[in-house]
Symmetry: C2
Subunit: 559 residues, 2 copies
Amino acid sequence: MSVTQFEIRAGAYFDSVVLMQLQRELAALPGVEDAGIVMATSANRELLAGSDLLPPAAGQAASDDLLIVVKAADAATAQAALSQVDSLIQKRRPGASQSFRPRSLATAARMLPAAHWVLISVPGRYAADVARTALDAGKNIFLYSDNVSLEDELVLKRQARDAGLLLMGPDCGTAIINGVGLGFANRVRQGAIGLIGASGTGLQAITSRIHALGAGVSQAIGTGGRDLSPEVGGITALQALDLLRRDADTAVIVLVSKPPAPEVAAHLLAAAQNVGKPVVVYFMGYPPTLGRVGDRLIMALSLEDAAQQAVSCLGQARLPASDTAPPASGYVRGLFSGGTLAYEAMLAWQGLLLPLYSNVPLRPAQALPQLTRSQGHTILDMGADAFTQGRLHPMLDHEQRLRRLRQEAADVEVGLIVLDVVLGEGAHPHPAAELAPAIAAVKAQRPVEVAVLLVGTDADPQGLSDQAERLVAAGAVVYYKMSALVETVARRWGAQVVTDFPSVPLTTLQPPLAAINIGLESFYDSLTAQGAAAVHVEWRPPAGGNEKMMALLGQLKRK
Amino acid sequence: MSVTQFEIRAGAYFDSVVLMQLQRELAALPGVEDAGIVMATSANRELLAGSDLLPPAAGQAASDDLLIVVKAADAATAQAALSQVDSLIQKRRPGASQSFRPRSLATAARMLPAAHWVLISVPGRYAADVARTALDAGKNIFLYSDNVSLEDELVLKRQARDAGLLLMGPDCGTAIINGVGLGFANRVRQGAIGLIGASGTGLQAITSRIHALGAGVSQAIGTGGRDLSPEVGGITALQALDLLRRDADTAVIVLVSKPPAPEVAAHLLAAAQNVGKPVVVYFMGYPPTLGRVGDRLIMALSLEDAAQQAVSCLGQARLPASDTAPPASGYVRGLFSGGTLAYEAMLAWQGLLLPLYSNVPLRPAQALPQLTRSQGHTILDMGADAFTQGRLHPMLDHEQRLRRLRQEAADVEVGLIVLDVVLGEGAHPHPAAELAPAIAAVKAQRPVEVAVLLVGTDADPQGLSDQAERLVAAGAVVYYKMSALVETVARRWGAQVVTDFPSVPLTTLQPPLAAINIGLESFYDSLTAQGAAAVHVEWRPPAGGNEKMMALLGQLKRK
């Protein structure tokens, strides 16, 4: 029959990692069968009870008390184990070399004025207050804590953005800033690949792979898992993109996220294609797009592929200016006869032409309200039933498309009209004979551009080059590859994302890293082990964890 | 003031392509302002009325009458145009060299006994009956007609499958069989790439691109757009996959579809990975997967990419047997600490491990009903809130995962347990010290296999190779790359799709192609222009298009 003994230390506070380590060491002492050492919140007391480690008398411990429970073969062994707790606590602090431990952020900031960064890993319900204090003090934040409300996240991120500060998180697991890993981070070579991630293990897997491939990382900026939600709208990711765009040490950018909100993903893609450096994007679960848009936007298929693509980009020269046509204005209107081609154009342009509408929408918000009237950028599958009622397929009969071509060309908001022409057996015997005069006619009226995606072979009965020549003579630009069409259209008509927030200063990324740590001691140990200057704040729950008192204090502070 | 004149030819029938060509020629005659020539169905009469081409007296034309309307500057010009209709009809038949035109499929089949194929392009409401007759006669079918009901499609496809016949369509726009294009098809080089497509322009774009890249096509099999719907379940695609698997002239297979039903897509992926030839898959809009599963399954990003990947495969040797571990049985259980890694595993295995469940499902059907009990193949993100309530993250605290490892290992249905281990700053200082003994212990109990995905670098404080060695010593197989893990698991534990239908005989693909054409004359012209043996059936609507009579006839036939 085992014996369970316990000890309550009123008001003693240790973080959860320290407690887990202590518990492991206690349980490993000779004769000890099981042990628990927790802050005695009701949740933790329940967990102990579930493991048969909560003697009735221990139930009196309060949430800001440290509760230590040992189950052993006999009372003497249990007592001996309890008596070793203090030496275990002392022993496990070899790295905590900091002689004086400030109790406030303000004091810590005076001790290490160079600290641009604050790492916050206190329990979630206290984290927003700590973060607010850090922002008020002008610090960038790595916010590891989870269970921060979405409301708090928004308020904090907006405050950070308006002040030109980065707030990574909440629930940010990993980052590498100025060569120093924050939170969970692999040790990797420094190099020219900058990363932005709304996915902790995603960033870790990619940075590890980049290292294995012989390349290195300039910065890895975490955003927290909710950053690409519709509510937050990618505030941190957009700041980070802008920052890495300006950072001379970053040649290639990787953007990774667990399933993002489609509208936020679209906005980020639009921003990414304007960066002027190659951006490798891996949006997990996002409606797949074409693999790449020129040399500017590369959609990866996996974490591994993202790393590989980024490293491949490194080997290449600056973005080539192969296509020198200038950016253009107006909307794009795609009038497709091939349903698959229309759908592929939607997949390709979903994040690059904004707003985008279609009769083959990828998501409901893209549905064109009235088929007869285009709006914004519009892609039409004109082979769809609604267009072909009582008519032949547009690959055979151009009448409907010609009418729509004239309608779109007459719209002063339109800058480009895209047509596909599919040659081959069964198709119209001479499409250019009908399309080319119509194209020439609309171009004579107004300066509208016309692009034709020509699908066919040099063996097709219509004559591929003859068709192309006639279309070109009429003033159309002819493309044989969707990828080339997609790239030019994205580059010339693509969304321009306005960066209407103060830039995060480049000095934020200048080594050496100096940081203040509030929360898990192990993060402080990790900072100093990596050679960073750091100060650990001896944080404990305000007002001894008493929630009513906290609320009162919070109200006072905000007045 | 223009004059409109018309003519009604009772019981004359022409197909819609012929009529469109006649209309174009009529409208181009000198002095003619506009013209219409249609079968006088109510829909067509409405269209004419909409173009102001339906004089009141012409409204009496019945649906099996040919109605010709000409609008011209004066009555004499209009009349002159009408009088030219017969010569236009004669003139536009240079290719229709067939002297005797049978009126039934049976007669046509006697005229060309070698014809394995029937092309059907009659109006949709007649198409199912024609197709049934062709199947009864043991013919393979290219069913161009649309507006065939889903119910009819299912009945016809099941009949075809059970008889070892291919039924491409309904609404099948394109195919290339034995080097001859059917319907809309580009003229391409013959070669070793076989295609299967539930997307007409998709197949055309890919085959054209393959040709442009210097390679060629063995067969291109259309399936019709609804084949990959949940109702039809990919009947034709699965037959085609099995056929091209056995076809010695096909070295690489391309499978393309507009957005497929996820469950059908999964089934097809599972079938594709067992083909024994590289299969390049482009499922538009399908939840993205990892780029490739070894050399057997390559997920393309675009039509262009599908062509490129297929051509690249051609240059390679037969599938290398790099990993020689034999196929294994039992379910796979993934216990991940990294949420992104769990999600990526879901993306990779969604079509290969069936049935697949998770607490991070890609679609509702994959949701694990009870978190505490795995079923089928199961992937768990054990860092999710439901698992970490009151606990540290599993990257720091292995207790939960170790407990689940033991639970899964004790399940006799389990063949493989997959764990991830993420090293680096902040993570557990020595994961192998806890995981390796547990792995060794469960393997000592039962012959269960354990795979570990190890994420980290050679600079990480835990020591990458030391951790790996300990895990291997405990009996785990260690992977550094998700792609390698995915491939081995898919190959050894992946779904085996049983082909439980009669094979389509390889003789179906043996040139030369001989076909019977029922419907659009232009398809007959195209067949003969390509050198195929063909017979055109002089089809006209049964019972003169009278719907009541048709229904009666249909009932009689089915008795």
